[in-house]
């Protein structure tokens, strides 16, 4: 029984929802306990956002320390040891604790609203996913307090990660932290797949789904298919480190290349896990602010699917310097180049959507355009190292650092900011300050390019990545200083954003249900939406339901139907999440009693969860 098909009796017992006073329907009213036990997708989305954004700031701070060290040759701001911890944690944090969960924040808040559902298919599993993510992220970062953070790179290449070359618990924190985070991602992805397929409003056929929902669906499939590969690798590594097996130990007949294959079979789809939600956001923002429906909707959808498929066949392009031989290199090169085609199709369709529209360059569109402009650069440098001979000079240099920051910051982060400015009124009921938003955009845009553009040249001129220092006289000084200055400008722009966010939450202008005159279903709800979302589930007859004739009048609140019953809050999800992390702590400290305690707690929590009724 899912929330969307709940019976319609009023339920006042739920601690997660207060029904009195003026904010009768605001999903956020209630004390701290109501947040800890909540199963409301909107609250979980907000918690995802806040946690992921804090991790994003931590990762950004790590980046600034890295840039401070690299501002001049043979600098001593950071020791080699601390530098290696910081670049490892910067990458790990940004990928697993910032970008992915920021996307998850949008999935959580927006998807049920976009498809006309009252919650996700498994609300408690959703809460569980969030708590596992949060605890896993805290576990990873706790390493700073216990002998140092992981320092073998976010890609953790074997056999540097073996006990012989990485002593202490640093790498163990990474091994167990990532396994815990994997649990969160897989649970969340299964939840969204079921939600999107099963909880669509009547009439919301697949080819009427909003693009963001489509990209979320594709991303979720990518996640459940990609994560098992890294999980297998991590379990092998855990066995190598804990029980002395030799999967990656050449002296015992193991193979260091096995890790690279397993990691990149996960790692390349991971790139699309980070970028497809951005494509989805952009495909919502551009039509809304062009006052014109998305051009080539089916092509955008099919391109997304094609990119996801091809994404599983290109992993060895991370390994061109390994020497796999001309046949393997040719095949993986050709497959990689193919991805440029659907990606290009998307970009052309976005431009075509704007073409002939009435563009209002409000902050969401500004960031969306920034995304397209920067992503083109990242895409083109990507094509350059899809060519293996060219890649031999570029891989593991700052050229690659420049490339993927144009994709993941110039791409994903610009898009996520577009999404934040776009959906903020729906989440909080208030608009963010446009003046601050535009200032944020321009400072970020300039800081970003100043930081990362020179890195293309640094790489081509011979500066490898992951180096804690460089010597004077190789021509690296000027561009490194430039990048460092740029990174602090970039960091400064975040202060403006945070200020705008905090201020607008309380003092922003009241938004109303649909401040941007947007076409998708979530904008038919009050801002913020009531805790049950849709009093009446609407019937959908059009891809842009609010733009069709009479669509503006769509108001699920106006039907006067009784308030739907929502699932009750529960402590079991956070309990189970804590139990899993306790087990992981036992594993990484190699303490059998703690592992057993964690296992026992997992059993208790699963039992309690299973026998607690959904509605009380």
């Amino acid at each position: 029984m899912t929330s969307a098909t709940m019976s319609q009796t009023h339920d006042a017992a739920g601690a997660g929802a207060a029904h009195d006073g003026h904010d009768d329907h605001a999903y956020w009213s209630g004390g701290p306990m109501s947040w800890i036990t909540t199963v409301d997708h909107k609250r979980i989305g907000v918690m995802y956002f806040v946690s992921a954004f804090v991790f994003f700031l931590v990762g950004g701070l790590e980046a600034l320390l890295i840039r401070a060290q690299l501002g001049s040759p043979e600098n001593t701001v950071l020791s080699a040891d601390l530098y290696n911890q910081l670049f490892t944690m910067h990458g790990t944090t940004m990928v697993f604790l910032a970008l992915m969960p920021l996307s998850a924040a949008f999935f959580n808040f927006i998807i049920p609203l976009q498809i006309g559902a009252r919650d996700v298919a498994f609300p408690r599993l959703n809460a569980f996913s969030f708590w596992v993510f949060l605890f896993g992220g805290l576990l990873l970062n706790a390493s700073f307090l216990f002998g140092g953070a992981p320092d073998a790179g976010w890609f953790g290449y074997a056999n540097l990660t073996s006990t012989q070359y990485s002593t202490g618990m640093r790498v163990d924190f990474w091994v167990f932290g990532l396994q815990v985070l994997g649990v969160s991602s897989i649970a969340a992805s299964l939840n969204f797949i079921v939600t999107i397929i099963n909880l669509r409003a009547p009439g919301l056929k697949f080819m009427r789904l909003p693009t963001f929902t489509w990209m979320t669906l594709i991303t979720s499939f990518l996640l459940i298919l990609a994560f098992p590969a890294i999980t297998v690798g991590l379990v092998m590594l855990m066995f190598d480190r804990t029980f002395g097996t030799g999967f990656f130990n050449p002296a015992m007949g193991g193979d260091v290349l096995l890790w690279q294959h397993l990691f990149w079979i996960f790692g390349h789809p991971e790139v699309y896990i980070l970028i497809l939600p951005a494509f989805g956001i952009i495909s919502e923002v551009i039509p809304t602010f062009s006052r014109k429906t998305l051009f080539g909707y089916p092509f955008i959808i099919y391109s997304g699917i094609l990119i996801a498929f091809l994404g599983f066949g290109v992993w060895a392009h991370h390994m061109f310097a390994v020497g796999l031989g001309p046949i393997a290199n040719s095949v993986f090169s050709a497959a990689t180049m193919l991805i440029a085609i659907p990606t290009g199709v998307k970009i052309f369709n976005w431009i075509a959507t704007m073409w002939g529209g009435k563009l209002r360059l409000d902050s969401p569109l500004l960031f969306a355009v920034g995304f397209v402009a920067m992503f083109i650069i990242g895409g083109l440098s990507g094509v350059m190292h899809s060519s293996p001979p060219t890649d031999l000079q570029q891989t593991d240099t700052y050229f690659v650092v420049a490339h993927f920051h144009y994709v993941l910051f110039g791409g994903s982060m610009f898009a996520l900011f577009a999404g934040i400015y776009y959906w903020f009124p729906k989440v909080t009921g208030r608009l963010m300050s446009e003046a601050l938003a535009k200032t944020h955009f321009w400072i970020m845009f300039i800081g970003f390019n100043l930081t990362f553009f020179p890195m293309h040249w640094l790489g081509m001129h011979g500066l490898p990545r992951r180096t804690f220092t460089y010597q004077a006289g190789l021509g690296f000084e000027a561009m490194n200083l430039m990048a460092t200055v740029g990174s602090f400008i970039l960091g400064g722009s975040m202060l403006i954003f945070v200020w705008n966010l905090l201020r607008s939450t309380r003092k922003g202008r009241v938004a109303g249900p649909n401040p941007w005159a947007a076409p998708t279903l979530e904008w038919s709800l009050p801002s913020p939406p009531p805790h049950y979302n849709y009093r009446t589930i609407p019937t959908i007859e059009h891809r842009d339901p609010l733009w069709r004739e009479g669509g503006e009048a769509l108001d699920p609140e106006a039907t006067g139907a009784p308030e739907p019953v929502m699932p009750s809050p529960s402590l079991w999800p956070i309990g189970l999440a804590a139990a899993i992390v306790i087990g992981a702590v036992g594993g990484l400290t190699q303490s059998l009693p703690v592992v057993l305690a964690g296992g026992a707690l997992i059993f208790v929590c699963v039992f309690g969860w299973a026998f607690q009724p959904l509605e009380r």
Partner: protein, 400 residues
């Protein structure tokens, strides 16, 4: 409903101008920050030239695509921007919804595919030219062994072992066979060749023909632990004659040791010293000057210490301080294999894998505490007295 204010034209133009300025400044600074002695864009071998030519070709395609697509984006924005100041009033004509156009979709699917063909074809031919094994029967084979954090070079044809500085002949194919003694490294000398990973349990290949004489720096390109940034190397491309002379010198004990050995057989200390001095004078090269420098740096007390004593005492330290456990020095009992071969360490331009100039002060600094120069270095601090440091440094620097 949205009444966000719009930026007036002048301010907007200023912003656009500022961005344009910033971007052109980027290109400018990037172009004149040099010189770039380690640049992949300044090739000095057949392979590096192939890679650079391919890159240049792809770069032009990328610039073309960049201009067209970014141009279309900008034109779209400026042309279709709703410039009115104030809230949307709903009175203007709404844009016509266009759901798509199959012909257009077909066109912009095929256009990038066509561009990719122009990139893929030269890519594939280059792969098959540079990625196969060399068929040149005269190729010089050099075995490269990566260590945390230095490079070992072995020339099996000449029974020659050296570290961090490899000589190769100009105009002759050189094939490197790469493997690692510990973790994964990556061999990269940008002006001579693309990277090739250096892995434990695998042997990889890399070959090229250098086409100009000179010193080419490179460094490890795969993160290999604490001092990954300090794992550099130099490949010296020499004329065939100079290369032959280098091989000849490297396959014998250092001249000072030869001289010492000869003198020993005569058993005449005086003669021995003179012989050693002759040899030093013969060297003439930077080493000779540096030697004088070293003696000066060692202070007045050391001026009496002649080379013979240095060699004798240095040899002593070598034995008693444990150096011989890890290092090999031809002509002495030192035959360790864990650390770099030091038979001719005095002839190298740098020490500590390309990190320090080969000067007496730097040698002393290294010997005093290797971990201070190279965090995590396996070589321990030997707890030598200042005098011992001076002696050992002078000894090592005399090994040309």
């Amino acid at each position: 409903m949205n009444d966000a204010t719009y930026v007036p034209g002048a301010a907007r133009r200023r912003r656009v101008g500022a961005v344009a300025l910033a971007l052109s400044a980027l290109v400018l600074v990037s172009a004149c920050g040099g010189p770039f002695p380690q640049s992949a864009m300044d090739p000095a071998s057949d392979m590096a030239t192939r890679l650079q030519d391919l890159f240049a070709g792809i770069l032009w395609w990328a610039i073309g695509v960049f201009v067209i697509v970014e141009g279309a984006l900008l034109v779209g924005i400026f042309k279709y921007r709703d410039r009115r100041v104030g809230p949307a009033d709903g009175e203007r004509a709404e844009p016509r919804h266009m759901h798509g156009n199959t012909l257009l979709e077909l066109a912009w699917t095929l256009a990038p595919a066509l561009v990719l063909v122009f990139i893929a074809v030269p890519t594939m031919t280059t792969i098959w030219d540079v990625d196969r094994l060399t068929t040149d029967p005269d190729a010089l084979t050099i075995e490269v062994i990566g260590h945390q954090w230095w490079w070992e070079f072995r020339y099996p044809d000449y029974d020659l072992i050296t570290a961090n500085e490899a000589y190769i002949p100009e105009g002759r194919t050189v094939e490197f066979l790469l493997t690692s003694a510990d973790v994964i490294h990556s061999f990269w000398v940008p002006r001579l060749a693309g990277k090739r990973d250096v892995m434990p349990g695998h042997e990889t290949h890399l070959w090229f023909t250098a086409d100009s004489v000179g010193r080419f720096t490179g460094q490890c390109a795969e993160f290999c632990g604490l001092s990954h940034a300090l794992m550099k190397l130099e490949v010296v491309v020499a004329t065939p004659e100079d290369f032959a002379a280098w091989v000849e010198a490297q396959t014998q004990p250092s001249p000072v040791l030869q001289a010492a050995a000869e003198a020993d057989t005569i058993e005449a200390p005086q003669t021995r010293t003179e012989l050693a001095r002759e040899v030093v004078a013969d060297q003439e090269e930077p080493g000779g000057a540096a030697e004088a420098e070293a003696e000066e740096a060692a202070g007045p007390a050391a001026q009496d210490t002649d080379l013979a004593t240095i060699i004798e005492e240095g040899q002593q330290l070598l034995m008693t301080k444990g150096c011989i456990a890890c290092h090999r020095i031809q002509g002495t009992p030192a035959a360790g294999v864990l650390g770099p071969d030091l038979s001719h360490v005095g002839s190298r331009r740098t020490i500590a894998a390309g990190i320090l100039e080969n000067t007496t002060e730097n040698m002393i600094r290294w010997l005093r505490d290797p971990g201070e120069v190279k965090p995590g270095a396996l070589m321990p601090a030997l707890q030598l007295s200042e005098e011992e440091l001076r002696t050992l440094a002078a000894y090592l620097r005399s090994l040309e």
